[in-house]
């Protein structure tokens, strides 16, 4: 056993009536890449945010290299050698990349109270270069970067301080394969220097390959810690959920049956960015998968299909000839869209579950010009029950729900509107195994009931596991079509992607 770098002893944390952490003990040794895994709301982020000084614990102690450690702020934690990359966007959009990297530390590059932009930019370029992201312009305004590059800026910022402990909270979901490689390189570097990494991810496969040790949390309790040779997917999953996960994760049939009728037709669809000359037919009772690299045009395609962005060339038409020209038309014709960016585009965080769920269905609920509260409640009740949304009441603000439950609310919107065509863009992004499985079941049930689904995803396993047909987009064009088959492997599909 190597030297203990950081230890946490009997940490407790309450959020109102919810216990986020209960008497948690956790140890990070030198040279460890320590994975934290658990369902949404299990306490992973709470634990790491306490270690990183973002919030304080209600009780308990922490030690770093044997000395009492109690950071009052993120900056103090950083000075003590603990840096964290948060799950949310941790960069300020309106300032330069370089300013983000050295936020609060500009003094080093200032003379007579004036910050030298040149020195700052140079140091920032250096910091970016160190993690292999030298292509990101240090002098650019941060909002001009895509979410992936902004994450890498955070990584550069964390690594530049040469921390002893690096905490990575659910960062890989925002990264493409290239970005992930940079992150893994940083992790390896930390490991080779005998420092410690705490790694949070929903992607079990990733954790199993990256981590040397893994701790499972559930409802604020530590369930157990496994060393690398004990890693086993089904064991970890049942530890997370607290019960055996039975049956196939995805679906068992391979006949790829679909309805006769084409319910949606895309013809020569070309968007302002990325999507180029995409044509296909979507049938009733079909799950049509779209895969590809994050910047391959799959997300843009989803927006075009639903009319959020308008096509430059080509069209999206329904079976009855309706032309989808904007999102209102789409919703009127019983289409639904689950956005990749849930909190920004799909949900109203400061509104109740009820107000969120009924929003697309209001036209249906109106009687004599007025929307009756009773009908709203009935619709919401149905959605909450059928999707098993964990909440206090339908009047609870959605911001207090966990990620998986927020996503269920988004699904509830479209089920409530009796959607017949669903465009799902990364519907299981950032949700835990339990919710994931119930979403797959839901998609399958919807398919069986005749609903047509476009499933856009960056997870190949999910696409292969769920789709009746699978298209791969590369640089905005369709670069491969695969029929459902038990023999189809990720290897086959990856060829079409790169």
């Amino acid at each position: 056993m190597s030297e203990v770098l950081l230890s946490v002893h009997k940490i407790n944390k309450q959020f109102g009536p919810t216990t986020a952490l209960r008497d948690v003990d956790f140890t990070l040794c030198r040279g460890e890449v320590h994975g934290l895994i658990g369902e949404n709301g299990s306490g992973k982020s709470t634990l790491t945010s306490i270690i990183a000084g973002i919030r304080g614990a209600d009780s308990g102690e922490m030690f770093k290299e044997g000395n009492p450690y109690k950071p009052a702020s993120v900056v103090e934690a950083q000075n003590l050698g603990v840096a964290m990359i948060v799950q949310e966007m941790g960069t300020a959009p309106d300032i330069l990349v370089a300013e983000n990297i050295f936020l609060g530390k500009e003094k080093r590059y200032s003379r007579f109270g004036l910050v030298s932009k040149k020195a700052l930019n140079k140091a920032a370029a250096d910091a970016l270069g160190k993690i292999g992201a030298g292509a990101i312009p240090a002098g650019a305004p941060t909002f001009k970067l895509n979410p992936e590059d902004r994450k890498l800026v955070e990584l550069a910022k964390a690594m530049y301080e040469e921390p002893d402990v690096l905490i990575i909270d659910e960062t890989t979901t925002a990264l493409s394969n290239d970005g992930r490689k940079l992150l893994y390189n940083a992790v390896e570097k930390m490991q080779s220097e005998d420092k410690g990494v705490i790694f949070i991810s929903h992607d079990l496969e990733e954790l199993m390959s990256v981590c040397t040790i893994m701790t499972v949390l559930r409802d604020g309790d530590i369930i157990g810690t496994l060393t690398k040779d004990e890693f086993d997917e089904s064991v970890i999953k049942s530890m997370m959920v607290g019960r055996e996960l039975t049956g196939n994760y995805y679906r068992n049939d391979y006949d790829g049956v679909r309805g006769e009728e084409a319910v949606l037709r895309a013809e020569h669809l070309t968007g302002a960015e990325m999507v180029e000359d995409v044509s296909f037919e979507l049938h009733a009772g079909e799950i049509l998968g779209f895969g590809g690299l994050a910047n391959g045009g799959i997300h843009e395609l989803g927006r075009l299909l639903f009319g959020i962005d308008s096509a430059i060339v080509g069209s999206v038409t329904l079976a009855d000839g309706t032309h989808i020209k904007d999102a209102s038309t789409a919703v009127k014709n019983h289409m639904g869209y689950v956005s990749k960016n849930r909190d920004e585009e799909a949900i109203m965080l400061n509104a109740s579950i009820r107000n969120n769920v009924v929003l697309p269905s209001l036209s249906k609920l109106v009687k004599g010009g007025l929307v009756a509260g009773g009908r709203e409640k009935a619709l919401t009740d149905k959605a909450i029950c059928s999707l098993e949304v964990k909440c206090q009441s339908m009047e609870q603000l959605t911001r207090y729900l966990s990620g998986g439950n927020k996503q269920k609310v988004v699904f509830g919107k479209w089920l409530g509107n009796d959607s017949e065509i669903l465009i799902l863009d990364c519907p299981t992004r950032g949700v835990d195994v339990g919710v994931k499985q119930s979403m797959y079941r839901l998609m399958y049930d919807l398919k069986l009931s005749g609903c047509a689904i476009v499933l856009i995803s960056e997870e190949l396993a999910e696409l292969i596991g769920m789709s009746d047909r699978l298209y791969i987009l590369k640089n905005g064009k369709i670069n491969g079509e695969f029929a459902r088959s038990p023999e189809l492997t990720e290897q086959d599909v990856i060829h079409a992607m790169i």
């Binding site: 639903f306 956005s339 965080l349 509104a351």
Partner: protein
């Protein structure tokens, strides 16, 4: 605990109203509580309240309207001119409402279709309306003294009726619900199928009707139309709704209660200060300070911008 807090913050404006009332009752005594003064408070609150009720629709979607005072003046002036021409009293209400609705339509169209921030477009509207009024009137004033001012017996039912109607629009119709959804998250509203342009313009039209009604009664109360009509009304209305608990970033905090309670609060504060002997010139400063503090306490810190879109 969180729920209790949520409830408490909803009740805060009402508690504030009671506290302010109690303070001025104690300080001003019989002078403040006299029938004449209470009557005055109601009359003074009327214009602010009617306009605040209308403007709540715009605040719901995260908009703001700096033109209400100038629009009020323009509609009063045109109504007075039309009345001088025709001599028919009914012309007054028709013209005030019509003019205010047209102004609302223009501001709304500019804001929504040209994608100009509402505080800019409504400021332009303010300048334009004030400009027309000043050009036409010069230093003159138009008297409409032949028609007797309607008493509280007419005004109170009008006020209550308008409040109930807008309350229903806000809480039970698509217009109200969509506007609040737009204020909460315009992208989510759009992707839920809401035609955000049309519903935002609808809010401006409803606000226009309210301004028109306020203009009609304001004209009859003054009996004369001059260039200083409606001066500073926009700020008083914004302070009122914010004092009432509405968030300037829009969303589900937009309620009828915030318009009604907030208007009473601001007028009682102004009136009370005058009664206890604070010079008129100071009340502006005090309003500014109150505004700043309320904004500090109410605006959602997790949002990036303080000003509405």
């Amino acid at each position: 605990m969180a729920r209790f807090k949520q409830k408490l913050s909803g009740l805060l404006p009402v508690i504030g109203l009671l506290v302010v009332f109690a303070i001025f009752t104690a300080a001003g005594g019989s002078k403040f509580l006299s029938g004449r003064n209470l009557n005055l408070i109601l009359n003074q609150s009327f214009t602010v309240m009617v306009v605040a009720i209308g403007v709540t629709m715009i605040h719901a979607h995260g908009g703001i309207d700096f033109s209400v005072g100038a629009v009020l003046a323009l509609s009063e002036m045109l109504a007075a001119l039309a009345y001088k021409q025709t001599g028919a009293p009914v012309v007054l209400i028709v013209v005030t409402v019509l003019v205010a609705v047209i102004c609302g339509l223009i501001t709304g169209m500019i804001t929504v279709k040209l994608r100009i921030p509402p505080f800019i477009s409504s400021l332009c509207m303010q300048f334009a309306c004030r400009g027309i009024v000043n050009t036409v009137l010069q230093a003159r004033s138009i008297g409409v003294t032949e028609i007797k001012e309607p008493g509280l017996g007419v005004k109170l039912p009008v006020l209550i009726g308008l409040a109930v109607i807008v309350f229903c629009i806000l809480e039970f119709t698509k217009i109200g619900k969509y506007n609040k959804a737009i204020g909460e998250n315009i992208k989510a509203a759009k992707s839920s199928g809401v035609n955000v342009d049309i519903y935002r313009i609808a809010a401006y039209l409803i606000c226009g009707v309210a301004i028109g009604i306020a203009a009609y009664f304001d004209l009859l109360r003054n009996g004369v139309m001059s260039t200083n009509v409606g001066y500073g009304l926009e700020m008083r209305v914004i302070i009122a709704v914010v004092l009432g608990g509405l968030s300037l970033s829009g969303g589900y905090t937009a309620t009828m209660k915030s318009a009604v309670v907030g208007s009473l609060l601001i007028i009682i504060i102004i009136n009370g200060l005058t009664i206890v002997g604070v010079p008129n010139t100071y009340t502006g400063i005090i309003q500014g300070i109150i505004f700043l503090f309320v904004i500090l306490f109410t605006y959602k810190r997790d949002r990036l911008g303080l000003l509405p879109r």
